[in-house]
Symmetry: C2
């Protein structure tokens, strides 16, 4: 049931407008994918998110394996039934989470200038898989391609991701090359396991290689001959926007154009604006929802800090012409009060606005591509 | 614009069905009043609460004076505009909060067997008013009848409460009598200040006297001759349900029946069932919403603890025939997961169910009274 259709290619750039067909509906591309780590977008409930018309939601297999467990979700009839969402869902493999929780963020790794090692949660990495400790209860857990894909089968998202290794940003070429080979092997095993029983799921390969042009090319060359439905750009994507865009330029040039691609973990407006002309179709990021919970509202004029003094007495909404539930009903002043009083409604209402903003932004992006403005 | 109309009196008890008319609409009685301390029901937004048809919302003047400040709410055009609620609101005087935060709850006071004094936040009580420290920033604040009523005028609720003293449960008769006289004086001053400029607000007297029959009678005798629009039963209402019902029996017997009455701070089902046949019209309590945030759902069959093991794999809703948003969309299993993952949606969804339950319960109570079943 999975299909990708390119409706229009911009005359101005490599940007394109398309549709991804999944068992739970269509994803218009380019599009933003919100992150619901624990099978819910933080501070919102599923139905509200669907009503906002968020077309693709990203859930984290690692977290769901630990709580409530992939088997329980299977018993519920799959994640769509479990959380009551009748729109597309994508899950990752768990690999990224295991490694990134161990290494810390790229930012904190960069600060440490490569001296920071893991936090000890990754106990052993072999060619078969990874042994690590659960962040929840300290239990030892083993994850490998087959176990990850089986969990993703049990969870039952529309799009799944093969198990991969996330190497830290600071790595010698030799070690990066080794990691790349292991990742490719793991991805192939993941795909083989997936193809035994597709269950109407699509699987996106994860392109690795860090910011090394040759390695990215090597990764795509290896993966493009396998029966993947799309490509996710993963691994280290650079330490700043400039590095990322350089990497994306040579990476997207090599990607098979007829398949959808996804940029993992990126969702700020500056990155979107630079990446969409390179032909990126989907992006996921927890930034818009996380920012909301910290009182940062996204607007056409940049970020608005709701807690700033100028919003104490400001009875206009976050954005005057915004049609979201929050802007139609509440003022900045009321939101400022809710944040100060630490009321949960503050987090919910700002999350609604930010998600609406992102969804609306991507609609305008698609319109702009159709008019060759991008 | 305030008016109370008794539509029906039960043939079986003193229970009655009525309507309270306010500038922001009708309150059907008997009814439950949810508490929105900081001008929001915790974990919900105003519009959602209105859509649940919660007819009266209780806000705490003390908290609102500290944050965002009564003047700011006045600038916003009053609390209804500030929070976007077009249904009735009641505020208290701030007195109860100042004293109860200082003394702690009746339960903790009872445990201390009267040895527990204040926490030091009440600095000075004179016949004029109370000097206390803000729990927010330690600033000294003075509150007296005129200041409290002015704050309530600025906030602009439909029903307001005169400034009163909350004496601790353990008090000698002599001291209780002294407190009673001071409270009556403060209430009279509050009323006089209110009557200078009603602003379409109604003011309910607060009947005091603890569990002392004579004192309750004395309180009502004093207050009923003044121009109050209704009566709130306040002060110490007893250390258990039995004591409270005894107190309510002699108190309600003396209350002017043609005016609405309100039982302050009580909202559990057992208390409602015992109090409604005595003619109580409205009740406020944070219990249903607080219980929700602790994973306790109210049902026809008693309290349901969502975190209990039997709800891990239970794909039915909290209540099968419940028509609330939560029960129509989500299973116990999903809610159990959300609570374990500490997702805010858990608090929101359970609060929705509990509020719906209370609103629905009171509808059935009114029906039962109309059929002389209560």
């Amino acid at each position: 049931m999975f299909k990708f259709e390119i409706l229009y290619k911009s005359k101005k750039s490599k940007a394109r407008v398309g549709k991804i067909y999944t068992p739970h509906g269509i994803i218009d591309t380019p599009n933003f994918v919100a992150v619901g780590t624990n099978a819910t977008i933080k501070a919102l409930d599923t139905k509200f998110v669907s009503d906002l018309d968020l077309q693709l939601m990203f859930c984290n297999t690692y977290h769901l394996m630990l709580q409530p467990g992939a088997e329980l979700i299977k018993k519920a009839g799959g994640i769509h039934k479990f959380i009551n969402r009748n729109l597309p869902i994508i899950t990752d493999s768990g690999g990224f989470q295991v490694f990134s929780l161990a290494y810390g963020s790229v930012a904190s790794e960069l600060k440490s200038k490569g001296t920071k090692k893991t936090d000890g949660s990754v106990l052993k990495i072999t060619d078969d898989g990874v042994l690590f400790r659960s962040y929840r209860d300290g239990k030892k857990i083993f994850l490998n391609p087959e176990i990850s894909v089986q969990a993703q089968k049990d969870i039952g998202a529309d799009i799944i991701i093969p198990f991969d290794e996330l190497p830290p940003y600071h790595l010698t070429e030799e070690n990066l090359n080794k990691s790349l080979s292991r990742t490719h092997e793991w991805e192939k095993r993941s795909l083989n396991y997936h193809l035994k029983d597709r269950k109407s799921q699509a699987m996106y390969a994860v392109v690795h290689g860090g910011i090394n042009k040759e390695f990215r090319k090597k990764s795509i060359d290896y993966l493009k001959d396998l029966d993947f439905d799309g490509f996710a750009i993963g691994g280290s994507v650079g330490k700043n926007l400039f590095e990322m865009i350089e990497m994306l330029k040579f990476t997207t040039a090599s990607l098979p154009h007829e398949k959808p691609n996804h940029l993992l973990g990126i969702g700020d407006i500056a990155s979107l604006n630079e990446s969409i002309p390179l032909g990126i179709d989907t992006f996921d990021s927890s930034y818009p929802t996380k920012a909301a919970r910290h009182g940062v509202a996204l607007t056409k004029y940049g970020n608005l800090k709701i807690l700033k003094a100028q919003n104490i007495i400001n009875f206009t909404p976050i954005e005057k012409d915004c049609t979201c539930y929050t802007c139609k009903n509440y003022s900045r002043s009321f939101l400022n009060h809710l944040f100060k009083a630490k009321e949960l409604a503050a987090y919910t209402l700002t999350t609604i606005h930010n998600l609406h903003f992102m969804i609306d932004y991507m609609k305008r992006v698609r319109d702009d591509i159709l008019q060759d403005k991008i």
